[in-house]
């Protein structure tokens, strides 16, 4: 159609020129022009011209004129295991609403993939778990996008925020995969992906700025001001938060393992009095540990630094002594390739340079070694104290599944912490947080803590719903909270607990409490497996199999199934055993069993809290 003064924003002269020019343009010229116009911020097409200006294929890297129906709809999907991504997604949602967007925030699980095509603006906030695997509530969505049924998404504008931990081999893997896949499907980035390490608040805030810019840009005028970054990180419920932890007093700290055990598991009771912090069964507690002072001393010594020398510890310019900084602020027990590279600049050591040239060797070296090893292996340190501090990452908090229920223990939170001690490269190594709790924490001391809400590990809303809980070792923790809660509720639902550890006599965590709950019928049933009491090892999954018929009946009755504890081995074995049981007792094919389980997942009847 022809451009006219009345159907376009142009005056007669412009309209004539355009009407003469447009028909002569080739497709590629049109594409170039669109991009050019878009980029130069002077997009002023009318709906009428779309067909003529549209670039059907190969969208340019910058948002095209296409779909200029100014969409204020933004969908934020998160995939989150332990709640970080969820928290960020929700805060981003609030911020955007504040900016007048109309926002939907949902877990990837709750999102119907078929609606994907209808979306205009999609933000993805996702973490990575396992060994580069998606979080449980991202699995099905991730699978859908990477499957054959994934739709073309030319009309989609998106951006990915990925959470991860740079000490893992596949850093932010899941985020990277989503980002790339969406591009392959034809989507266009309205802001580049940002990969966050454990200390994710600032990068996340920056990402959101970029996103808002992108979105606003896409809107005619793009007049909206960009929000201050700080608003983003803010927790909504209480003043105390991950970024502003509460110092909780230790009320009780006991070893749950009897004499002669190979294990040490601490039962910690902390007071939340005056914190206003609240939580639900299934939530975790974040704990900010301090490094082992003797290790810090040895490191400073090896670095040949003056422990009292002041160093700056953050952008805001706070400063304190090297010793304090290394004790409370920075991570010194984990090595990463990136860290080695930064360090190499100050170590000026050829062996290290050589090592860095070979990824395999790097992986091998960093396993089970720490900063002290690095400096003593490749020292001397030819840098300042500040140089050293500057290459370190912040000491990350540790999460612990909460082992108590607020309704049973008001203003208290209980934890079940397994002491991590091992020997590596000729030195006794200690887990930073667990050994702080085991060796250096007395009743009366305080710990900086925050609540990590976890919507992906919750009791069924309906107290009558049966629950099956599998929690060997410290995996027992959240189930103590579950049962405490159900006891308080006077819940009618059946409950079945599987627990396992090494030895019955010394390692039956919370034994007397379970015995009482069984007696009172609060806990319906318990099966235990102690791997080192018998010649052939038995584990929780063996007990599940022994009871496969009944277990499947419970599932058929709608029972929710929970796994907590070791991620590397146990969670996988239990998962597969569960599939075996469904297959066997349900007379299903493997595929159907898998379907059965992912349906359970969809219905939040299969939840995991693994680490």
């Amino acid at each position: 159609m022809q451009l006219q003064v009345m159907n376009s924003p142009f005056n007669q002269e412009q309209a004539d020129l355009l009407n003469r020019l447009l028909p002569t343009l080739t497709e590629s010229q049109k594409v170039w022009l669109t991009g050019y116009l878009a980029a130069s911020q002077s997009i002023a097409a009318t709906t009428g011209t779309e067909q003529q200006l549209v670039a059907p294929t190969a969208a340019p890297s910058v948002a095209p004129v296409v779909e200029q129906t100014i969409s204020k709809e933004v969908t934020i999907l998160y995939g989150s295991q332990t709640g970080n991504a969820q928290g960020l997604a929700e805060n981003a949602g609030k911020t955007l609403e504040g900016r007048g967007f109309d926002v939907t925030v949902a877990s990837m699980n709750d999102f119907k993939p078929n609606n994907l095509k209808k979306l205009h603006n999609l933000l993805i906030v996702v973490s990575t778990h396992g060994e580069g695997d998606p979080p449980d509530n991202a699995l099905s969505f991730h699978e859908f996008l990477h499957g054959r049924r994934a739709p073309k998404l030319e009309n989609l504008r998106y951006s990915v925020l990925s959470l991860g931990d740079s000490s893992y081999e596949f850093f932010c893997q899941t985020g990277k995969e989503f980002d790339q896949k969406l591009e392959e499907l034809g989507g266009t980035r309205l802001n580049d992906r940002v990969d966050c390490d454990l200390d994710f608040d600032e990068p996340a805030a920056e990402w959101l700025e970029g996103v808002i810019a992108g979105l606003s840009q896409a809107q005619a005028g793009g007049t909206e001001a960009v929000l201050p970054t700080t608003a983003v990180a803010q927790e909504t419920d209480t003043v105390y938060s991950r970024t502003n932890p509460f110092r909780a007093e230790v009320l009780e700290n006991i070893n749950l393992n009897g004499r002669g055990s190979n294990k040490e598991t601490r039962h910690l009771e902390l007071s939340l009095e005056g914190s206003g912090l609240t939580f639900e069964p299934g939530d975790s507690l974040g704990v900010y540990p301090e490094n082992d002072p003797t290790l810090v001393d040895r490191l400073i010594n090896e670095l040949n630094l003056n422990p009292t020398e002041e160093v700056q510890i953050n952008k805001q310019g706070e400063s304190r002594s090297v010793k304090e900084a290394l004790t409370t602020n920075f991570e010194i027990t984990v090595l990463t390739k990136a860290l080695l590279e930064k360090a190499s600049a100050f170590l000026k050591n050829n062996d290290l340079k050589e090592l860095l040239a070979n990824d395999e060797k790097v992986k091998e070296y960093i396993d089970g070694r720490d900063m002290l090893d690095l400096v003593s292996d490749f020292g001397p340190w030819n840098g300042s104290a500040q140089d050293f501090i500057s290459i370190l990452r912040k000491l990350p908090s540790r999460l612990y599944s909460i082992a108590s229920s607020l309704s049973a223990n008001e203003e208290e939170v209980h934890l079940t912490i397994g002491a991590v001690r091992y020997e590596a490269h000729g030195r006794e190594r200690n887990g930073v947080c667990s050994i702080l709790c085991a060796d250096r924490l007395q009743p009366g001391d305080t710990l900086p803590v925050y609540i990590q809400h976890n919507q992906n590990f919750k009791l069924p809303e309906n107290p009558d719903t049966p629950i099956i809980m599998v929690g060997p070792g410290t995996g027992i923790a959240p189930f103590r909270s579950f049962i405490q809660e159900r006891e308080e509720q006077g819940a009618e639902g059946k409950s079945w607990l599987f627990f396992g550890d090494q030895h019955f006599v010394t390692d039956f965590l919370y034994q007397t409490e379970w015995q009482n709950w069984l007696k009172d019928g609060v806990l319906t049933r318990m099966d235990v497996a102690f791997s080192r009491d018998t010649d052939e090892k038995v584990y929780v999954q063996n007990r599940m199999l022994e009871n496969s018929k009944e277990l499947f009946e419970w599932l058929q009755e709608g029972a929710a199934f929970y796994i907590c504890g070791d991620e590397k081995k146990m969670a996988h074995d239990v998962h597969n055993t569960l599939l075996d049981i469904i297959e066997k007792e349900g007379g299903m094919s493997r595929e159907d069993a898998e379907k059965y389980l992912s349906d359970m997942q969809q219905q939040k009847r299969y939840q995991r809290d693994v680490y």
Binding site: N255, L256, G258, V505, Q511, T512, V528
Partner: protein, 573 residues
Amino acid sequence: MVNKLILKAPDGPPSDVERIKEESNYLRGTLAETMLDRISAGISDDDNRLMKFHGSYLQDDRDLRNERQKQKLEPAYQFMLRVRTPGGVSTPEQWLVMDELAQKYGNGTLKLTTRQAFQMHGILKWNMKNTIQEIHASMLDTIAACGDVNRNVMCNPNPDQSEVHEEVFKWSKQLSDDLLPRTRAYHELWLDEEKVAGTPDVDEVEPMYGPLYLPRKFKIGVAVPPSNDVDIFSQDLGYIAIVEDNKLVGFNVTIGGGMGMSHGDKETYPQLAKVIGFCKPEQVYDVAEKIIMIQRDYGNRSERKNARFKYTVDRLGLDAVKEELENRLGWKLEEAKPYHFDHNGDRYGWVKGSKGTWHFTLFVQGGRITDLDDYKLMTGLREIAKIHKGDFRLTANQNLVIANVSSQKKKKVNELIEEYGLTDGKHYSAIRRSSLACVALPTCGLAMAEAERYLPELIDKIDEIIDESGLNDKEITIRMTGCPNSCARPTLGEIGFIGKAPGKYNMYLGAAFDGSRLSKMYRENIGEEEILNELKVLLPRYAKEREEGEHFGDFVVRAGIIKATTDGTNFHN
């Protein structure tokens, strides 16, 4: 013959244990299930009552009780298993099995008991079946090692008169076996025997015991004078072998002995058995069966504290019981024959038996077979058992006789004895060699104070006084128990200690060296310091004032330091 006596059992509601026995269907109860429950290493009180009949007790390591409670762990439940060895005789093969089981399932030690049996401690519930099966495979068992039935029949292992000993032992063994309960519960529960459907008629199952078994435990001992090592007068029923020109002619029968009592309850007291006559060897079983049935019918089933046969005898009167016995037997006992005891302890070291074989009596402190850093007793005995062709004999004083060693083997055995420094106790003071202590803490659930773990220490200190008084070679029997149940027969020791509270004991004096007179309380509730202060006075005095060959127990009576107890009924006054 008409029974003109009207004997009756005391009335009163039956004790709870009677109910448990009644409901148990001949000692089965719910043991089959509870033993499989994985949530607790313990079992219910009711089942534990029944467990005793199977030779085992549920216990817990009392050293760990409080600590574990804080740790939210149940008590360190474990089972004690008592292996019946009639007359205390076991083969080297059996010794090796006990040793192995103690290592594999137990706490790594063996206890030689004051009734000549083996005890293992620290066996977990899940290992009980295997342990019992392996014991069974070695031709030993734990049936009726505890419980309201007849126990392991004791018998003097004195190797000096071998033929007689052999014969006496034969009778004891037979007695022990013939008096066993007949129920198949043990075989079903532990040895996987098929359960016979339905409950058979009482007479088929327990013709002698009946469905309720006895009101209380019942103990039989057989002594061969002049040794009273089995403390014949402490037994419910005793047989004193009468030997005429090296032939066993029969036994004097004693009834109504027992040691147990309760603090502060004068209705309970230790009592010595009385001789009621003489019977021929072949009559031994009849007498035992009828005595047991009398206790079954007239014993106190309402008050367990007063349920032992000794109280039945004292209540009905010796003559009445004797008459009832003869009524039931249908014949009369003969006149008791003269006999003489001169000690109730053991004689240590090598002796040659009349058959030309050798016997080595080993001093075992507290009857505990274990390896210490400086004394590898358990290993030493294991090595000996591997080459030994004779037998092992557990004594009533918790010691061990390596018996029937051929002259050829003697050298080899002796080499091992020396290699491991196994001691006949010669280098110890005579008082230590004459010591006896019950298990008590940490395994005994009834202990009020230490015994086995403490007596050796106490004797270290007493030895100093002994030394100064020059009494090193003077045998003085000294016995300690952790509570008044008196498992080490403390009131038959010349110096006796009975636990009252941690570190506190009642002190008893005046028992006869040959076990023919009970002691009496001398001091109540005293600790180590007071104990030593008392002995610092008593022992030197005995050293100075004693008459030729006079024993300490007799001395304290003669010197008026303590009043003689002439009968259990005046023990408390």
